[in-house]
Each structure stands twice: as structure tokens, then as C-alpha cells.
Symmetry: D2
Subunit: 405 residues, 4 copies
């Protein structure tokens, strides 16, 4: 490498779970990948002065701000990384893009389609000026899912018949788990649907190369009221059964069937009709901790993935018949996406590595002056699916077209 | 044992896949279980004289008949075992019951709710005379599923939140697999829905102790025409791509969401609402050969089963937390349902053993003068779910109540 | 089928666990396979008149004898099936062969090499007269292991490097499990070594196509005394901790390393040296119920099997790299050994099916006038490995050549 | 935390695979754990000026040195982290300790027992002056193995019967994989035995709380010569089959049986005899990429682990019988070792996290003035087992006592 790479000075908004993951990514990316720009952890923003200062030190940011607007005003910030709750995304992202800052925005992109549309318009406008926006569907960068995408793109699966997508967690099973911001619709937009369902919607559309065109859905809130306060442990925790309770205003579980557009985008080829999808997102699947699962059945091959065994991709190739079987590919080979930059084969990666890969891909796109993926438009499409799901659930599960499909 | 047990003389209609399984069951049951009546394989009926004679010899039946009506006329037949296609069930079963013969009828009970209702009325009338009818949902007698039922009945799971039920096969993935009677609606009633979906509907209702009250459904026929004739291999085969084709008149895949009745019947206790169900049946899940899968998530414990590993039941008990995990119970212990009659622990059983257990339970019920389960009424309830699924699919997936629920 | 096949009239000695398995095999074989001879269950022999009569009725034998010598005298017996303990094998087998009866003898062939040598000599002499002997290493006929053998024979694995063989059970873990004949060296010859270790030795040699040439071994008896009497449950049970105890005279666990002969017999090709083997047999592996496991690592492919998931064979093919992985082949395809005679794909078989396949292969060999496998000579080779293991264990684990290797 | 923690200034020797892992650990530890001292990445040492400078920049070290002696001379280095090959460990470690630097030394501690003894003597002397040495058996800090240790210490397993330990890799399966320093005995000390076998020896002794007292062993070098040079990929690669070859002077595979001391150290209780161990380390287990596996069978419970699924621990508790089964514990709960500092449940960790945990534990021990574990004495014990294995293999596998046992 001749000369030092240009810096990419990052300002991050929010410093909770996602903030910690993004911080680790910015810090780690240049240590394992050769990057065309050097990320610098310039500033982190949060409202509480003491807590944001502590977070800056802990997470390794050079400075702290108590108003995200300061990040946008500062000349020494090139990219704004939005890790705050969904109800803040629109304002921050649009302001940042208009100020010429690149944007990485956590998912779901917004709490409504209208917000997402305005954000996408702002992103499109910015892109024409070489300022780029990306949405943080980080699971795309899990090596096993990246390999799944590659196999589909290569045509290995042939026309798709089925997409089976689940995101199963169990941290609300306890009826006295406390009421958190994630259960407040005004903050989070939706419950399991937007929080985890959005991940599998994005992954299913991205890997299949097809958009969802319509859905039939059911939403359920099993526990209508929960204790205010309580001991938080992980995402959930244990509330006091005796104390005051507040209303849960989001879904505990979301299930829907879907049709895909048949895939002009798919290298597998466009059959007369696309696959049928079955989606499920829940926080009540006792024993399933982070079971983000995808299964695609094509005419030539099938794929299956479960994040609880995140370094493996299961692949069934009909060409192997009669001695075919789902093979457990350990996605740790030098030839596999991302993994050659890390450890020898069989030495698995963890959850946060996908964030590092996301940072790498974003830096490379910005340096090359190209639109990173997923774009805000990609995320808007997910948002439209979420909206269709809610509309169907509110209308006796009736089949509901996804806007624009 | 002092004295010989009374005989139970069986006449079987049909001798294909199901006929072979039932024959093995009647032959094997008295060798491993102490039975109150001694099953005798008296006669098998089929239309083709040469083929039914050959089947009688091969499968071990003492005589052959070319008309099922002869079985009903014969004095030396106590029970009629119906293994012929669904469009024949009503006539045979009602005639047999009216003639005072006990009946074991393969599933699905009938090709329509109207048929099933008439059959159930006949069964109820016969029961009052000590003549009993049972429907052959044999999977109930797979030891792992019987253990699942026992655990739910004991209250181990607590209130249920989710039922996840799949029956995935792949024998129609090849677009040139031949057109068989299973793809002809006039013979089979429906496709994957009635053939394999019915199994998971019955299993889910039986194990949960709850009925499905409503559904939202989608049916799909991926391949609309298939070769007439061709080489049959297993259930599917390879047709000639060049020859004449005929229309597929049944579904290739069926998916639906469901609600359960909350379970007055469930020992787990009746919450204000029952669990949400997600069901899928397909013959296009490439690589899944006989993946009859059930997962129940309760508030205290969860269960998971996959027939492709049929001797295991996975059980997650929240009481084990923080060192909880799905345990792979090998359902081969002497204390487990049925298994103590067979081999030492860890020496697994196979597919046909459930048929033997079904024969055992039926014989014991008849000898005791008690109604065997599943009754025709139980099977009628499954039929009503199938009907609701078809109605919803025909009405834009709109939520559809199950009749009688 | 024109004309009736010749009968093969069987007389069985012993009617416990193995007797029940063999009975089911003789009864079932003609129902699923087209056989050149028709097995008839002519007589069963045991010492206790009442119990053998009851067993005959229960297991379906036409007559009972209280002395095995009567089976040999009877003209209407063509084959003697020896299911009694190992200390009786030599006398019965030699007498039967000399009387012109074919013999199927349970494993281990004998309790000593000397006995096995005399039996092999008798078998060789009989074979020259068209009278055949076979040893019941039934696991060879488990379809997944038969497929493993086929793959090795086809050269799919290339030169072998490692054989990993375990047979893990846990029914002696309880220190008060009762003293049974299996723990009495005078009856059983050895403990885990001969009972279950013999199975994996045979399987490893047969599948690899190579003989073991030398071993280094360790034997251990963890619990030296056990209660006399007690409640038997399965193979083990629960004795009274308070009552009298007797000495355990066999090994509880056996472990040894081995070298193979490099495989002139192996289609995989003979490298300059054969693979290294690691063997373990124990009844103290708590939680492992019947984990009969084999793993072969070749230069081109690897295989893995565990009887606790008996319908699957795991196959890793280096030709699939970099997207290789162990594939879980469901050994239920029509093209797989034996399975096409049973159920559709994915409808697994159970433990006893291997006995049926053994009966089929034996009947076909006899009808064709060919030596069935495994021969007594094959079983003698296993016996010599057992002897070398015991010799090495008694001599500070020193490397010990297998006789004749 | 009031005030800034004291720094712990680290100087690292070597910057290859292990150097990258250690660098990531020093960088990451303070971001997720509250540490009593603040690690500073002061300097990295290597012989090639250009390459070490590049490594310093890439891996994030503040300065570079071309002689490890400079690290020892520098006043601003508190700890020397030795990541160079085994033949360099003794000289560096002893010099560092004598200079008052704490030492973290990669495993295996040395290439001979004599070296390890001198290092241990130096460590003991240093410890009396508050200067500490630790050996980098990093797998101990994999959360699942830490939980295994905790369960054994709590007595959950009862007296142990079996230890089954494998470390299976496949990167030498290709006969033309190139000759690297890992295949040169003068550099690496041994092959699979010391490289990966040492890991499972340490883990087995540490978790069981028992030392190995004797062994019977077999070593094998399947491929005696390999190409000099070639394309390195991961640990292995593809050499030119045509070019010059050099001798492989280490073992390709090592297998041995072992006895343990019965465990005065074990909370599980000291039976009259300890468990039997079966160990295997190989680089020829085609398809096994990093299968570092342990299974412990006790009288009350069993444990199983495979690094290829590193976030899970399988646990069988006999108290669950008859519904017992190996439970797949996802070791990601807040209550589990280390994991509460990272992500929500079910969001797994990767290979390098164990190095971060190692750094954390080392920093805490140094700050507390306590001996970190594993000490050099612990590593010396592993070295003595390695020596006994080599001695036994050279003496016809004869049983060989471990020195000091």
C-alpha cells in the first residue's frame, strides 16, 4: 500500500446494543481488511452528557456530543451512523444527507412507509451528488447467507418453489418480562414484525433476488400488559408481578404467507410464478434464542440456514442423487465470502463479524463512488411489505398487495 | 396366558402402500404385545383377480376377494380395514358398519365434509351397538409423538403460544414426474393438503388437545400438467417429457395460518386465547423426504419433532434455565409409549411400527368395548379444517372459521 | 411367480432378545422380498418346557423342543439358527453342520479363538458339501452401513487414513445394576469387548475391506461387584444395593488402537500403509444408548455413521470443495441397499430390519449354493482381534499382532 | 469507575496467525469488559524490518522492533506476549521474566520437557516477585468449555468414567500440501500432537480436574515427503507435485489411551480409579475442519463439545430420566461464563473471543497480584504427557507413566 488511505470520519448516534456492535465494526474492519479509506471513530452522540461521555470512552470514540445535530454541523464528520430507535431515523438521516454526510442507518429504516419514502427520496437526491445511504440489514453479511446469495445468483437452485423464513426468539415468554421501548409502538413502530421479521424479509428478498408481491397475515399480542420497570436482562428480563403495568402496543408474533415476483432479477430464471413464502417472527418461541432461519427450495437445489449455527450453510444438490443429502458446509473457507480475511478453516466467526463486513462493504462503495447495498430503496421495499402485513392482519388476513409490486 | 384369546378376523380392502403397512401390522402385533384378541388375516379384497390373489399370497392373507362387498357379507370377518383411495371410503365404511363389522379406515377419512359427516353418523350409530370405527392417523402412534402428547397432557408445557407444523416432501419436484391418482382430485380429494397436511393437522390438534377454529390459507399448483404414464419410482417417478400430458387437479403445496380454541381440553390450561399455528404441506421441498415436523412452544416448555429422525423428541424445559437446551430424548426407553415391547434402549423403530401400535390399540379398544381414537368424529374435525383451508384459499386467503368451532 | 418356492425349514435355539429379532426376520422376509426359498418357522428349542412352549406360541414357531439336539435329528429342519449364549455356539454349530444343516450363528462366533477355529474348520468342510454357515453380524445389513461398504468398494474414499469406531452404551452406569450372564465371563466370553466391540470390529474390517493387523489395548472393569438378582429392565436394571453381590468377571469398557493391512482387498487402493484405527466399546457412556459409530477418513472422501440415527449416512466428498460438507444421506432411496423393498423415501427403518435383510441374504446364498457372508472365517478373524486386544491389555498395552495377519 | 486505570503496556513477539488473534484480544478486551488495568499495544517485534513495520500498522501496535530483546530492555513494556514458534519460547520467556516483565506464552509451552522445566522454574521465581507467567491454552476461555469446567467443579457429573478427546483437522490430506515450519520438528517440536493434541490434553485435564498418569500411544506420518514451497492457503495449501520435496519430520496423527489420577482435585469426587481417556489428534480427518471435541461421561451426567459448533455445550443429566437426552445448551446466557459482556442470547461468539477472555483474565490476575491460570507449571504437565506419548509410541505402544504422576 503506497501512502495512507483517506480517512472516513464517522459520527455515531446512539450507543446501546447496536452502538456497541457498530463501534466494534469500525474499530476492527481495518485490522483484517485492506480498506481504501481509513475509518476514524470521531464522535458519538447521545442526550445524557454523562452517559454519552462514558460511552465514548468505553466504546472508543474520540469525542461525545449531546445533540446529533452537532455531528451534522461538524466539518470533521464524513458519515453519520444512526443507531437510535426507529422514530428518530427520518429526521437524522435526511438532515445528514442534506448536509453531505454519508449515512448508515439501522433497520428497520423507519416506522412507516411515508417516512421511508421521504428518506429514500433524500437518499436518491444525495446519491446524485456522490453522497450515499445504506440501511443496516447486517445479516446479509453473515458469511453463510452471503454464500447462499452467491449460490442462488449462480443459478444453483433453479426456479424457486418455497421460501421458509422464521425469526424465533423467546425473551418475552415470561408474562412478567418488563415493558421496554421495544414494546411501545410509538418508539419501535412494531414488535417482532419490524424488529426481527424485517431481517428475514430483507434476507429472503435479497437472496432470492425477488420481491414479495402480496401477503396474508396474522399478528398477535399474547400478553397485553406488562410491568413497568423491572430488572432488564438481555433484551428481556424479569419484571415485578405486583407493580404497575402498562399496555403492550406492538405485536408479540407475526405470521404471514407471501408470494414473490418470480424473479426477473433471479439468475435462477423466471418461472411463470415465483415461490410461496411462509414467514414467522416471534418472541415467544421458548427455547429458540436467535433462530433466524431461512430455507429455499429450488428445482435443482435447496438451502437451509439457522443463525443459531451461524457458521454453517446446509445445501442439498439434486445432482448428487441418489446419494444426495443436505450438506453442512462450514462457511469458513478462503473461497467463501469474507472468511478468508479472518482465521483458518473451521475457526468460526461470531455475531458481530457481520457488522465488520458491513463496514467494509460500505467503505469500499463510498471510496468507489458507488451505491452501497442495501440502499434506502431496498429498505423501503421491506417497509412496504411490513405495511402490507399490518394491513392484511387488520383486514381478516385478506390477501394484500405490496405497494409498487 | 390361560386359554386362547378370541380371534379378530380382518378383511382388508386395497393392497398397495397402505395395504402392505397394515398387513405387517396385523401380522406383527401379537408377536410383541399381549393382546386380548387374536387378529387373523382372513381376506383381502381388490378388483383384479390375479393381482389380488398375488397380493394375498405375498402379504399373507388367507383368502382373496374381488369385491369388497364380499368381505361384508362374509360371516368370518369381524373388522374391515379400508386401505383404498379416499373416494371409496364412504360407501365401504358405512356398509361395513351397518353390517356389524368394526372399521379401520385410512385417512383422510373422506374427500368431503359431507361424506365425512355421513360416515360419522354411521359410526355413532354403530358405536351404540358396540361396533366401532377408527380412522388411521397412524402417526399418533409414533412413540415420540405419543410421548409429546403425554407431556402436554401432564401440563409440562403450560399454556401454548405457537404450533409450527410442516409436512415436507419432494417427490414432485421433477416437472416430468408422472400424473398419478394422487394428483387427480376426483380420486384423492386434494393434493398435499389432504395427503400429508391432514396428518399434521390431526397431530397438532391431538397433541395440543385443542381444535383449530379458523384459518387463512394459500394453495398452489406449481406444475399444471404432467406426463400421463411414465416410470413410477416410490411415490413419484420419472415421466416422459415428450409424451401426452394431463392436468394436475390438486394442490402441490398448501400453507395456512390457524388459531386454536385455547384448550378447554388441554391439561396445559386454557389461556384467554389459544396458540397461533403455522402449517405447511408440500411435495416440492427438495431434499426433504418425509419431514413431518411439529413444534409446540408453551410458556413452560417446548417440543420439537421431525419424522426424518423419528425416534427422537426434542424437549426444552424452562425449568432447566440457565443451562436449558433442547434435549434430544431417544424415545426408546421402557417407560416410553409402546417401546418397552420392542428392543433395548437406543435400538430404534421404523415407520411401520406405528401401524402395529395402531392395530394394538384398536384391538384393545374393541375387546374392552370402548371407542378407539381417533374416532370418525375426530377425523371429521380434520376434514372440516381441510374444507376451511380450501374455502379461504378460494377467497383471497380471508380468515375462515372452521365449521362447528 | 410360477410355482411355489422350496421351503427352508428353520429351527432356532434360544428365544430371548436375539430370538425375538430372528423370529421377526424369518416371518417378515418373504413379505417384502421375493425369495428363492420360503422360510418356515419349524421349531424353537429351549431347556424349560413351559417357557419354550410359550415362546413358540408367542414368537410364532410351529413346534418346540427342549433339547437343541432334537433340531439336528429332525428331518424337517434345514437350517439351525443359534441364538443362545456364546458358550454354547461351538457344540451346536458343529453338530448341526455335520448333520447337514445350514447354520446361522449369532455373534460373537465363540468365546475363544480355539473354539472359533474348530467351528471354522467344520464350516469349511460343510461348505464343500453345499452346507453353509454364516455369522450374525447383523449390523452389516443396516442400509446405511451397506451403502458405506458400497461407496468404499467403488473407490469413493480413496486410500484410507483413519477408522474411528465406537460402540457406546450406558446400561451399567448405575453401580447397582444387577449381575447378569453378560457379566459372567464363563457365559459371555467377554464384556463390552465381545458383545458390542465385536460389532464395530467386524463393521470396520468389512467396510474398509481391510483386516486389522495389530492392536494396543486397555480393558477396564469400573465396578468389580454387583448385586445378584434385582429388577431387570432392558439389558440392565436396578439391583438391590443391600443384597448379596457377585464378581463382575468381564470388562466394562475396552479401548484400543489398531493398524489395518493396507487393503489389497480394498477397491480404494492399497497405499503403502493402511489406516490407523481407534476403537472404543463401553457400557458406561452415560446418555449414549446405542451409539454404534463409525467414521472413515479417506483421501478423497469421508463417511460417518451413528446407529442412534440409523437411517442416515454422512458423506463428505472432497470433490465438492470449497462448498463441501458432510451430507446427511437419508438411506431410504430405491437405489439404496435393501430399502426399495420397504416404504417410500424418508420413511425410515428400525433396528430389526437388518435381521430381515440378513435372512434374505442367507436364503439367497443357500438357494444359489454360494457361501453367505460373513462366513465363520470372517468371524474367526474378528475373534482373533478380540484375542489380541485381551493379550495386549494383559501385557501393559504392548503392541500385539493379530494372529494370521 | 473513578480515575483512569493503570496501563498494562504489552510487547508482542511474532505477528502471524497467533499475533493477529492476540492483537484483536488486546484491542477488544477493554471495550466489553471493565478492566482494572488498561492494556496498551506498545510494540511488536519481528526480524524483518519492513514486514514488522507493516504488521505494526496493520495490527495496531504503536511501535515495531526487529529484536525481541528490545522489548525486554524497554522500560515502557510491562508484559511480553510470545507468539513466535515453539523453539523460541524458552529464551524469550526466561529473559522477560528475569527482566520483570509479565509473560503470556503461546502453547505448546516448549518443544521439550527440559525447556518447559526451566521455564517453569523461572516462572516460579518470578511469581515470588509479583511477576507472572501464563500459557496460552486459549480454548479454556471458550464459554462452552468454561461452562463445562464449572459443571464438573460443581459435581454435576459425579465420578468420571470416560474422557473422549479428539482434535480433527484435514489440511494435510492433500499429499502435495506444502512443507511448512509446522512440519519441521526442529521448529515445531512435534506435529498434530503438540499443535492440536496439546489443546485437548490441557482441556481434558483442566475440565476433569485430573492429571493424566499414563498413556499408550501410536504416532503416524502418513506422507513422509512434501513439496518445498507451493501455494499456502490457510494452514495448508497446494504444493507443486513436480518440484523438490523435503522430509516431514513430525507426526501427521497421534492417538493414545490414557488413565487419569482419579481426581483428588475433582469436586466430582475421587473414586478408586479415574476415567479412561481416548485421545486423537490428526490433520488427515477429511471433512473435519477444526473438530476440537471433548466428551466426559460421569455417573450422574455427561458433557459433549465440538468446536465446529462452538457456542453449544451438550449436557445429559441422568436426573432427567426417563425423559433425559443430551441438551444443546446455547452458551450465550448472561449467567454463562463471559457471555454476558457481549450480545443478547443466541448471538454467538467466534474463535477469537477466547483470546479476549484470556486477556481479560490475565489482566485481572496481574492487577490482583495473583497467579493466572494456566500457569507454566500447568503447561509443563501437558508437556510431560506429550513426552510420555512420544516415549510410548517409540516403545511398541507400551504403557508409559507420565513423569511426576
Amino acid at each position: 500500500m503506497s501512502g495512507l488511505p483517506r480517512p472516513l470520519r464517522v459520527g455515531m448516534v446512539g450507543y446501546a446494543f447496536m452502538g456497541a456492535a457498530h463501534s466494534q465494526a469500525w474499530r476492527t474492519a481495518p485490522r483484517f481488511f485492506d480498506l481504501p479509506m481509513a475509518p476514524a471513530m470521531a464522535a458519538v452522540a447521545g442526550r445524557d452528557p454523562a452517559r454519552v461521555a462514558e460511552a465514548a470512552e468505553k466504546l472508543g470514540w474520540q469525542s461525545a456530543e449531546t445533540d446529533w445535530r452537532r455531528l451534522i454541523e461538524r466539518d470533521d464528520i464524513d458519515l453519520v451512523d444512526i443507531c437510535s430507535p426507529g422514530d428518530t431515523h427520518e429526521e437524522i438521516a435526511i438532515a445528514a444527507l442534506e448536509a453531505g454526510k454519508h449515512v448508515l442507518c439501522e433497520k428497520p429504516l423507519a416506522n412507516s412507509v411515508a417516512e421511508a419514502e421521504r428518506m429514500t427520496a433524500a437518499a436518491d437526491a444525495a446519491a446524485s451528488r456522490g453522497v450515499f445511504a445504506m440501511c443496516g440489514f447486517s445479516y446479509r453479511r453473515t458469511p453463510a447467507l452471503s454464500l447462499a446469495k452467491r449460490l442462488v445468483d449462480e443459478g444453483a437452485l433453479g426456479p424457486l418453489r418455497h421460501v421458509r423464513a422464521q425469526y424465533l426468539q423467546d425473551w418475552l415468554t415470561d408474562e412478567n418480562a418488563p415493558l421496554t421501548w421495544r414494546l411501545d409502538k410509538s418508539k419501535s413502530g412494531s414488535g417482532s414484525l419490524g424488529d426481527i421479521g424485517a431481517h428475514v424479509i430483507d434476507a429472503a428478498q435479497w437472496i432470492s433476488g425477488q420481491n414479495i408481491t402480496g401477503v396474508s397475515a396474522l399478528l398477535e399480542t399474547f400478553v397485553k400488559e406488562r410491568p413497568v420497570g423491572g430488572d432488564f436482562v438481555g433484551l428481556g428480563g424479569h419484571g415485578g408481578a405486583e407493580g404497575p403495568k402498562g399496555a403492550v402496543t406492538v405485536d408479540d408474533a407475526a405470521v404471514f404467507s407471501a408470494r414473490f415476483d418470480g424473479g426477473a432479477r433471479s439468475a435462477g430464471g423466471a418461472g411463470p410464478s415465483g415461490p410461496i413464502g411462509v414467514f414467522e417472527a416471534t418472541r415467544f418461541a421458548l427455547g429458540r434464542k436467535n433462530a433466524m432461519r431461512l430455507e429455499l427450495n429450488g428445482s435443482k437445489a435447496s438451502l437451509a440456514f439457522d443463525f443459531e449455527d451461524m457458521n454453517s450453510l446446509w445445501f442439498y444438490d439434486a445432482a448428487d442423487e441418489p446419494n444426495a443429502g443436505f450438506r453442512k458446509i462450514q462457511v469458513t473457507e478462503p473461497e467463501h465470502p469474507y472468511t478468508g480475511h479472518w482465521w483458518p478453516v473451521g475457526h468460526g466467526l461470531g455475531y458481530e463479524h457481520a457488522f465488520t463486513h458491513q463496514a467494509v462493504d460500505l467503505i469500499e462503495a463510498i471510496a468507489a463512488g458507488k451505491q452501497p447495498a442495501p440502499s434506502f430503496a431496498d429498505a423501503l421495499q421491506v417497509q412496504r411489505v411490513l405495511e402490507a402485513v399490518e394491513a392484511s392482519a387488520a383486514d381478516e388476513s385478506r390477501w394484500t398487495k405490496v405497494e409498487g409490486a
